[in-house]
């Protein structure tokens, strides 16, 4: 177990190094095998820790409990989808001359590094290390966002790096203050588990500031309004697989960080302190996403704003904090991660085919590009929370928990926001998907299998989870109990 836990972050790292080497073919496919192995390892760990066990190596440098295992699974699945799809995508990018072999190599390497950083972030017990890893994701993705050296992509990456780094720096201050508090509490430590056990002795005054700053910092990374500003630009400019990873897991990793902080904060300051903060941010995110979706013209930004909406939901779930809410939140992470990955990958294919990200230029997709168009449509339906996709179950659970916790007003407000989002996404979705092409010019043959299969797989998986979770059920329960004991 320890070996697996330790090796998991290294798999992508190694793959990344290989990717830098000259032989591209191998590089691309090792990039696929690494996430697959991560997935397997995550599954093994999951089965182990679901029983409440904890795997710990190097006094907490690596510590995998149920929550970490859940996140590892999430990262593994999404990374698998993104990388598998990515092979075909990069080939097409090179073919279309948006980049060259060198660019492709760097791309593969950075993607792996990005995944590795995220894995570190979720499988360490040390808040400091977690912080370092989160900052590392920013650096890894900086060049991925700017992968096409266009004006827009450069602009996006500049904004992304500056805003995200500033945010994470704020989080660093928070971490420092936590350490400060622990120093004057039970003894200096940055280990989450120790902080939790010693939460009683931490000085509330310092912790209040610390927690606030941590939430602001990681909230920036998660894209909570009003700190979301970089997200639409970065997610819409990055290459599809990277957008998939950023939207699908990176935001969830940030939320994960907030959840870890929340545990300590709840023990030291009581649940209400963070609840107010998260509730405001969450509801604000949902409403803002709705407002900005109303007049949207770019389908990748559309997906990005939908991410903001879903992060808002997660924040609300965290704010409610009951067992049901947290379980719903975790399930929502998983469902949203996969669905959003599929959505972005499909959108990438549409971009390759049409050469434009404007909704107006991409119509009648179901007729022109049945496979990816269909996948895009289904992903939208999933993101809008239609059964059998699991997002319906999780949203329902979060709202249920909200009413049960006497936060009916917030839940109702959220429901209203979701209604607006729904209307907006539906109007643009139908504009893109339905109808018959005005010009009979077909967009060449439908995309190749390696780009379609992962999308189909992802959709089937989300639908399946929405009906029956099977072995994931106990893991989710265990993970939920880590946060809301």
């Amino acid at each position: 177990m320890k070996a697996i836990a330790l090796s998991i972050p290294f798999l992508p790292a190694v793959a990344g190094v290989i990717a830098l080497s000259r032989w591209r073919r191998i590089a691309s496919w090792t990039g696929v095998t690494a996430p697959a192995l991560v997935l397997v390892g995550g599954a093994v760990l999951g089965l182990f820790v679901a029983k409440g066990e904890v795997v710990e190596v190097f006094d907490g440098l690596v510590r995998v409990d149920a929550l970490s295992a859940w996140m590892i699974l999430l990262i593994g699945i999404v990374a698998l989808i993104a990388t598998t799809y990515g092979v075909g995508y990069m080939a097409a990018e090179v073919a279309q001359g948006h980049t060259n072999a060198k660019g492709a190599r760097i791309y593969y390497a950075l993607v792996q590094g990005f995944v590795a950083a995220m894995l570190v972030a979720v499988s360490t017990d040390n808040l400091g290390v977690m912080w370092v890893a989160v900052e590392a994701t920013t650096i890894a993705t900086a060049f991925l966002v700017g992968h096409r050296h266009t004006r827009a992509s450069v602009e996006a990456s500049w904004k992304y790096v500056v805003i995200a780094s500033v945010g994470v720096t704020v989080a660093f201050l928070g971490t420092v203050l936590v350490y400060f508090a622990s120093r004057h509490g039970s003894g200096a430590t940055m280990r989450w588990s120790e902080l939790v056990s010693a939460a009683g002795q931490l000085d509330p005054g310092v912790m209040r500031t610390a927690v606030g700053l941590l939430v602001v910092g990681y909230g920036t990374k998660a894209g909570l309004a009003p700190l979301h500003t970089w997200l639409p630009d970065a997610h819409s400019q990055a290459p599809a697989p990277v957008s998939a990873l950023m939207s699908g897991v990176l935001v969830s990793v940030a939320v994960y960080a907030i959840l870890r902080v929340k545990v300590i904060s709840d023990l030291t300051l009581g649940p209400d302190h963070l609840r107010v903060l998260l509730l405001i941010a969450g509801v604000a995110s949902v409403l803002l996403a709705g407002a900005l979706l109303l007049a949207q013209t770019d389908y990748k930004r559309l997906l990005a704003y939908s991410s903001i909406e879903h992060v808002g939901l997660m924040a609300i779930g965290a704010a409610i904090g009951s067992r049901l809410a947290v379980a719903g939140l975790l399930l929502h992470m998983l469902g949203h991660g996969i669905a959003k990955a599929v959505g972005f990958c499909a959108s990438g294919d549409i971009l390759l085919a049409s050469g434009s990200t404007r909704i107006a230029d991409t119509t009648a997709l179901l007729s022109r590009r049945p496979a990816t168009g269909g996948a895009f449509g289904l992903a939208l339906l999933a993101l809008l929370g239609f059964p059998p996709f699991s997002l319906f179950a999780s949203e329902l659970a979060i709202l249920r928990a909200g009413f049960a916790a006497d936060m009916g007003w917030a839940a109702s407000l959220t429901a209203a926001g979701l209604l607006v989002v729904f209307g907006a996404v539906l109007v643009y979705g139908q504009r893109m998907l339905l109808g018959r092409p005005v010009t009979e010019t077909s967009w060449g043959s439908d995309s190749r299998a390696t780009m379609v299969v992962p999308l189909a797989g992802g959709l089937i998986l989300v639908a399946a989870i929405g009906v029956w979770m099977g072995p994931l059920q106990p893991l989710m329960e265990a993970a939920a109990s880590v946060i809301s004991s």
């Binding site: 945010g167 109303l294 007049a295 399930l331 179950a393 659970a397 009413f403 059920q473």
Partner: protein
């Protein structure tokens, strides 16, 4: 495993298999497989419903593993059974009809695969026995129907518009229901219907009433109740006709189901104003619907609006029942709700029939516009006969099934309370007036639909070229037509078992509302009796007598065909016929202030003299007031709000960092 459960699960299984078959098989087989298997599902579904209504046993299923974080719980009780019954019955006809109807363009994988899923959802919703289960089934129904509504998006641009309206309104309905039921569940401390029932009377009135109003909004939107009906006249016409039959015949009714279930079963009824609200909304819907149906010239749009009308009538019954029950007169309440449920069943049958008929016309003539139809009676005899039966039934004419329920409804409104409360004394007479006027207008509407659509001369070459439809489609229509006649002759077939469902509504009734006396049915308390069967027999005898007299008086039997009196012109052309527009004109004028039609008349004169006309063009457009005055401005306002909101995201990194600075400062100051 009881018969109920076995057949119900069997039905679901059949649908599932149908979906798989649709995905697996190739075209010609696909359509057949889906049609047949869905039909089987329909039959099994009705069997389960019948066994419940016959009092065999309620079917209960608990699947804690399924449906993450909630667990699925189903129970098929007499109230739900009514709706499973109509779902099954209409499904049988619709899916067999679909075999022939899908031959042309609708045989794609997606549509064929989703249709059985839609049927499945229709069987699931009435059996759901917990909040989450209900909501999931409800959304499953929403998404499948949405896909089916959009099925023909390649053919007509309106389809996409329709799909959007439908999607938004159906999600509005979900949001309202969700808030209502989750609130309820939170107060009850559990989400199974049993717990909800138990907790209902422990809740403060404010909560009860708000839960009720939210439920009314949500389910009303699905039922097509004014002012939440706007999606209905868009979606139903654009959907493939056999789907429209299910939408209008069954899905819309599930709104009624939800209202009854939440309002008078789970909440156990409430103050009089609940009933009054429902009744008034119902009355408005009925009048609004029928008036728009009257002036519609698109056959399927006409049918859709008439659905709003019928839902209105059903709601009038429900509301009346609520009022009576709150006044303590549970006997009359039982009568009223029996009337509503009976009308639910009847409307499912004849509206399904009418939509199938309209589908046949559309398929063969390629148009839905009444002003371009006509002369089908000779070209499509079976379709014409079936549509005729449907029209007479929906016009509530004896001896067809519409009459029975309309009669019961009126009986329940023409009450004999000793000294009624003011509400009853003032509302009921008006309700009678509305129901009567609606009935009259419905008759006019369907004389127009059937007369101008099927009789006399064809008004266009398409109609001229129409031919009778294929066997499978004929089967679908004939089956429903026979059901209409059958229930018309012997309504007791349904009325008697319905009494079980009435009992289930603990908030309304504690005894049967309608007693069965031989062929006749008698409203509780012998207030009046009706035996439609006898009427039919009497009619038959009368006809026989007249013909016999004819023979006796040696009237010539042979008929000679001669030209009609065409005002002196030798030939009579279709252009001389009254069009549907002109048929409706007098009534449209009577209700001008209400319908506010936009007329435009342009007359072009010949160049020689302004006393000679070149051409006269007359156009009349009637828009849905709620759509043009309520929804469109709302949507527009939202869109503008979206435009304003974009300022927040104006691209300046300095602004973005400014947000962060402010947030950080606030956090620092607040956590001081």
């Amino acid at each position: 495993m009881s018969l109920t459960l076995a057949s119900w699960v069997g039905a679901l299984g059949a649908c599932a298999v149908a979906t798989i078959a649709a995905l697996a098989l190739r075209k010609p087989f696909r359509v057949w497989a889906v049609g047949a298997l869905s039909a089987v599902g329909g039959i099994l579904g009705s069997v389960s419903a019948v066994s419940v209504l016959a009092g065999v046993q309620n079917g209960t299923v608990e699947l804690p593993g399924v449906l993450p974080l909630a667990g699925a719980r189903f129970e098929l009780d007499p109230l739900g059974a009514v709706f499973v019954l109509i779902a099954g019955a209409v499904t049988v006809a619709a899916s067999v009809y679909g075999i022939g109807y899908s031959g042309h363009g609708l045989d794609g994988r997606v549509v064929q695969a989703v249709f059985p899923l839609f049927v499945m959802s229709l069987l699931l919703v009435p059996a759901a026995a917990s909040v989450s289960t209900l909501l999931v089934s409800w959304e499953l129904m929403a998404v499948t129907s949405l896909v089916l509504v959009a099925a023909e998006h390649r053919e007509r641009p309106e389809v996409r518009e329709a799909a959007w309206w439908y999607g938004v309104m159906t999600h509005l309905s979900l949001a309202a229901i969700m808030v209502s039921l989750l609130w309820f569940a939170a107060r009850a401390g559990g989400e199974s219907f049993v717990e909800l029932r138990a907790a209902a009377d422990r809740m403060p009135d404010v909560v009860r009433s708000s839960v009720f109003l939210l439920a009314l909004t949500g389910f009303g939107a699905k039922a097509g109740m004014v002012p939440l009906h706007v999606w209905l006249p868009r979606a139903h016409p654009e959907a493939p006709s056999h789907v429209s039959a299910l939408l209008s015949g069954v899905m819309v009714k599930l709104g009624i189901y939800g209202l009854l279930r939440v309002g008078w079963d789970l909440l156990g009824g409430g103050p009089a104003w609940w009933g009054t609200t429902v009744l008034v909304l119902g009355a408005v819907s009925a009048l609004f619907g029928i008036l728009h149906a009257l002036v519609a010239d698109d056959l399927k749009r006409l049918l859709a609006y008439s659905t709003t009308e019928n839902v209105g009538l059903i709601l009038v019954g429900v509301g009346a029942a609520g009022i009576y029950a709150s006044g303590g007169d549970r006997r009359l309440a039982a009568v009223a709700v029996t009337a509503s449920l009976l009308h639910v069943v009847n409307h499912a049958l004849f509206k399904g029939l009418l939509f199938l008929g309209a589908g046949s016309v559309l398929l063969k003539s390629g148009t839905r516009l009444l002003d371009r139809l006509g002369g089908l009676a000779r070209r499509m005899p079976v379709t014409t006969a079936c549509f005729g039966v449907g029209s007479l039934a929906i016009a509530a004419l004896p001896p067809l099934n519409g009459f029975a329920s309309e009669w019961l409804l009126l009986k329940s409104l023409v009450h004999e309370v000793a000294d009624p409360p003011v509400v009853v004394a003032t509302v009921m007479p008006l309700a009678v007036g509305v129901v009567a006027l609606t009935g009259g207008l419905a008759a006019a509407t369907f004389v127009k639909a059937f007369g101008t659509g099927f009789l006399a001369l064809p008004r266009s070459s398409n109609a001229e070229a129409a031919t009778e439809v294929s066997a499978s489609m004929r089967f679908g229509m004939v089956a429903l037509a026979m059901a209409c006649v059958g229930l018309g002759l012997v309504p007791n077939l349904v009325v008697a078992p319905l009494q079980r469902s009435v009992q289930a509504l603990t908030g309304l009734a504690d005894g049967p509302g309608v007693e069965v006396v031989g062929l006749g049915m008698e409203t509780a308390g012998a207030a009046g009796r009706l035996a439609p069967g006898v009427i039919a027999v009497a009619l038959a005898i009368a006809v026989a007598a007249v013909t016999a007299t004819g023979w006796i008086m040696k009237v010539r039997r042979h008929r000679r065909r001669v030209a009609a009196w065409a005002c002196g012109r030798t030939v009579q052309t279709a252009r001389m016929e009254y069009t549907s527009t002109s048929f409706a004109e007098p009534l449209q004028r009577v209700f001008d202030d209400f319908l506010r039609p936009e007329l435009d008349l342009d007359v072009s004169h010949t160049s020689e003299s302004r006393y000679y006309l070149e051409a006269v063009r007359f156009r009349i457009g009637i828009t849905d007031a709620f759509e043009s005055r309520l929804y469109r401005p709302l949507v527009e306002r939202l869109r503008r709000l979206g435009e304003y909101a974009r300022v927040l995201q104006n691209g300046s990194i300095h602004l973005y960092l400014g947000y962060m600075l402010v947030v950080v400062l606030v956090v620092l100051v607040l956590s001081r």
